[in-house]
């Protein structure tokens, strides 16, 4: 099948050129129409579409350029080739700018007639490529738009789901609220009558009233269970995890269950390692699980029986277990034990369903929310053993959990959440000097110290994070609050001395805070923010140049200054000091007076003359009797000096004073 011919509108007033061009194009298989003026061409194109327009630059009425402009306005995207006279390339360039696809320059020998068909084909090919590209681009845009639409739909669906979940949770909360108030009234009046407050009652009446009260309590337990389950299933239950010491927790549970065990004539014992690692868990929820297991054991154990609660450390977790000498559970029933609404007929004499059948199902989910497992084994007639594990955590994991929980809670409560990261800048030095173990011990001491320093409120936590870094988690504290607390920690730690062997050690800390949601909305961002700020602080370390010809003095000063958190440069004589100062700026110079090559005074004056060092404070370190300031006729006030042999305390006090003055002057 032959392709339809390519149509060309040739706009040319020179008859000779017109004739020759038309001939050349027709021979090449183009279908050519001709216009001799610009207006004629415009008129033609109103009626007909052409594949290509070949336009001469010079026309009797309009310029070729003008024709091109009007044509492109009329029919955007047309393919036009401009034919310019020899030596009129400027017009061709203009035409390209105006949207022509190409140009051909007329040659006196008519050689351009041979190139014109080639140019036309090439231009059309280019045009086609361009169209294809545009089409692809459009398809891509369309795809992107569809994707975005899908995303919007998903987001809307997600929002809807969240809303429904919230609705469900609100509904359960509302129903429970509506039930509890009338229950309180019933219970209260039953109590008032039973206790004889409203007048005398018979023993029988009092017994019945006690039953009313017991049943109200049972109703309230059922409501609690249903609420728990609803919250767990809607994913609304947030664990409030903190470091929990398992031993007191077990003791506490035993204490609260002892009266119930005693009324049934049961022994309740505990067996637990004395030193268990802390677990990172929601204390209330773990207590709830243990109480549930113990009260089940009490319920299903005959008088005279024994219940034992134990807690032991395993390799990856801490295991809690509750064993009884009760009636036990049939093997067939064991798998169903942790399912919802399971009321097993464990004892034919026991009335069915004193609860909701949700207790174990809730326990299982609570344990699993903690990342643990729960299981039961039993020997019918001999007793049952329920045990659950809670994982041990690495400090880093705990830190992440704290962050994650903190942000989730702040989100839910629409409140703030801040962290303050405290970095011990001389940790590595402490480690080098006293060993890792001692350095870590000092950190633990710092941790305790900070714990006592920060306001203790539910949700506030101090935890160690990375080597030499510690994080204070501040729930419901805003930016200003967290800065105030962080500053206070800094002040108090600066005053504090820590003891290692016979040494008194100072800890140098830098601290940075970040607040959700003002400065960051994810845990990653919070960490990044504090890290960036710590880094800034780190790089803001003050730099001191020590100029002294005595290597021992230099090293002594370097050690002491670095220990104090300064960055230290040293020079052994004046020229070296000047060289150092050319390379980098310093905040303070400690200058020895008696030096070879160039003495301190000379160097001092050179420093004062140089605009780069003119404002850098200098402290002159001089041996007693070396001071020549008076001899040199300089006023005492010109210098800051410290006399050798100096006390470091005096030196640091002087440095602080000088640096404060400098900062004051800068402000």
């Amino acid at each position: 099948m032959s392709k339809p011919p390519i149509t060309v509108l040739l706009v040319e007033d020179d008859e000779g050129h017109l004739f020759l061009t038309r001939e050349a194009l027709t021979q090449e298989g183009f279908q050519v129409e001709v216009c001799r003026t610009g207006h004629e061409a415009l008129e033609h194109s109103q009626r007909t579409d052409y594949h290509v327009y070949v336009i001469d630059v010079k026309l009797p009425d309009l310029t070729g350029l003008e024709v091109l402009r009007r044509l492109t306005t009329l029919k955007p995207g047309i393919v036009a080739i401009i034919v310019s006279g020899h030596g009129d390339e400027m017009a061709a360039v203009e035409a390209m700018k105006a949207g022509a696809y190409d140009y051909v320059v007329k040659s006196p020998s008519m050689g351009h007639l041979a190139t014109l068909p080639v140019v036309i084909r090439e231009v059309l090919a280019r045009r086609q490529l361009k169209e294809e590209r545009e089409q692809l681009q459009n398809e891509l845009w369309e795809h992107t738009r569809l994707l975005e639409e899908r995303n919007m739909e998903l987001r809307r669906a997600n929002e809807e789901l969240k809303r429904l979940n919230q609705l469900k949770s609100d509904f359960v909360t509302m129903v429970s609220h509506e039930l509890r108030t009338p229950m309180s009234t019933v219970k209260e009046f039953a109590g008032i009558i039973q206790e004889g407050i409203a007048g005398p009652t018979s023993p029988e009446q009092r017994q019945y009233l006690a039953i009313i009260q017991e049943n109200v309590d049972r109703l309230s337990r059922i409501i609690n269970d249903l609420l728990d389950m609803a919250q767990i299933e809607s994913g609304q239950l947030l664990l409030n995890k903190v470091m929990v010491d398992p031993v007191p927790l077990v003791q506490h549970v035993l204490q609260s269950m002892r009266p119930l065990a005693a009324t049934k004539g049961l022994t309740l014992d505990v067996s637990a390692s004395t030193a268990l690692p802390g677990i990172f868990a929601d204390e209330d929820k773990v207590t709830q699980v243990l109480i549930n297991l113990v009260s089940n054991a009490i319920k299903f154990t005959e008088p005279g029986g024994r219940i034992e609660v134990s807690a032991f450390e395993e390799s990856h977790d801490v295991e809690f277990s509750v064993s009884d000498t009760g009636i036990g559970i049939a093997a067939a029933d064991l798998p169903k034990l942790f399912e919802k609404f399971q009321q097993l007929h464990r004892d034919p004499r026991e009335t069915v369903g004193k609860g909701t059948g949700l207790g174990l199902a809730i326990s299982k989910r609570l344990v699993e929310l903690h990342g643990g497992r729960i299981q039961a084994t039993s020997e019918p007639g001999r007793g049952s053993l329920f045990s659950f594990t809670l994982p041990k955590h690495q400090p880093d994991e705990i830190f992440r959990e704290y962050l994650h929980n903190g942000i989730e809670q702040a989100k839910r409560r629409q409140s703030r959440f801040s962290i303050s990261v405290i970095s011990v800048t001389n940790f590595l030095e402490l480690k080098a000097r006293y060993g890792l173990e001692e350095a870590n011990r000092i950190l633990r001491e710092l941790e305790r110290f900070i714990k006592h320093t920060v306001r203790r409120r539910a949700g506030d936590v101090v935890t160690r994070w990375q080597r030499g870094e510690m994080v204070v988690i501040l729930a419901e504290v805003d930016q200003a609050g967290s800065r105030a607390i962080t500053d206070r920690i800094g002040r108090l730690v600066a005053q504090q001395t820590f003891v290692v062997g016979s040494d008194a050690v100072k800890l140098f800390i830098i601290a940075a805070t970040a607040t959700y949601p003002d400065e960051a909305v994810t845990d990653e961002e919070l960490i990044k923010m504090t890290e960036m700020r710590l880094h800034q602080l780190e790089s803001k370390k003050l730099r001191v140049l020590v100029v002294d010809d005595e290597p021992k003095t230099r090293e002594l000063l370097r050690g002491a200054l670095e220990h104090h958190g300064y960055e230290v440069l040293t020079a052994s004589h004046g020229p070296e000091a000047l060289q150092q100062l050319k390379e980098q700026a310093v905040d303070l110079i400690l200058l020895d007076l008696m030096m070879p090559v160039m003495d301190g005074y000379e160097l001092y004056h050179l420093l004062r003359e140089d605009p780069r060092t003119k404002h850098v404070p200098v402290i002159i370190v001089t041996a007693k009797g070396d001071r020549k300031d008076r001899q040199l006729g300089l006023s005492h006030a010109t210098y800051n000096y410290v006399e050798k042999p100096f006390q470091f305390e005096a030196l640091f006090a002087k440095m602080d004073q000088v640096l404060d003055q400098r900062e004051g002057a800068q402000r």
Binding site: T173, S176, H177, E178, L179, R180, T181, P182, M183, S184, T185, V186, K187, E188, F189, G191, I192, E195, I197, A198, V216, D217, S220, L227, Q231, Q236, L237, N240, Q409, R412, R413, S415, H452, T453, V454, R455, R456, R457, A458, E476, G481, A484, I485, R488
Partner: protein, 137 residues
């Protein structure tokens, strides 16, 4: 003189039950049906202790407690909250209910009386901002 207690509760039946209980335990008891009513009663006669519900019409318990705490004349009146809200729902108001014992409905009458006695012996909430209430050592 017998200590006086103001009971702020919107449910009339429960209001009656608790006030009967309080009077029989030897307290003078005034009642109010919402937070606004409660504030008016406090202005007329300053009680030794306040028992308040949280969800109430006109003015809820949170607002009522906030206003009591903000006014230096009433800031130190001990408060007990009686509520049917769940602990989870209460968690979002943790900050508002600092230093306030919360009893969940249906409450135990003995627990309520014990809480009241304890508060009347130790007095109202301790004062001091978050910066000063840290416990050292």
């Amino acid at each position: 003189m017998m200590p006086s207690i103001l009971l702020v509760e919107d449910e009339a039946d429960l209001r009656l039950a608790v006030s009967v209980r309080l009077r029989s335990a030897g307290f003078r008891c005034e009642t109010a049906s919402d937070g606004k009513d409660g504030l008016e009663k406090v202005a007329r006669h300053r009680p030794d202790l306040v028992i308040a519900d949280l969800l109430m019409p006109v003015m809820d318990g949170y607002e009522f407690i906030r206003i009591l705490r903000a006014d230096p004349n009433t800031a130190d009146i001990p408060i007990v909250v009686l509520t049917a809200l769940t602990t989870q729902a209460l968690a979002s108001h943790q900050a508002d209910l600092r230093d306030v014992p919360v009893l969940q409905k249906p409450f135990d009458a003995k627990e309520l009386l014990d809480t009241i006695h304890a508060l009347l012996t130790t007095g109202g909430p301790r004062h001091g901002g978050p910066e000063t209430d840290s416990h050292r050592g």
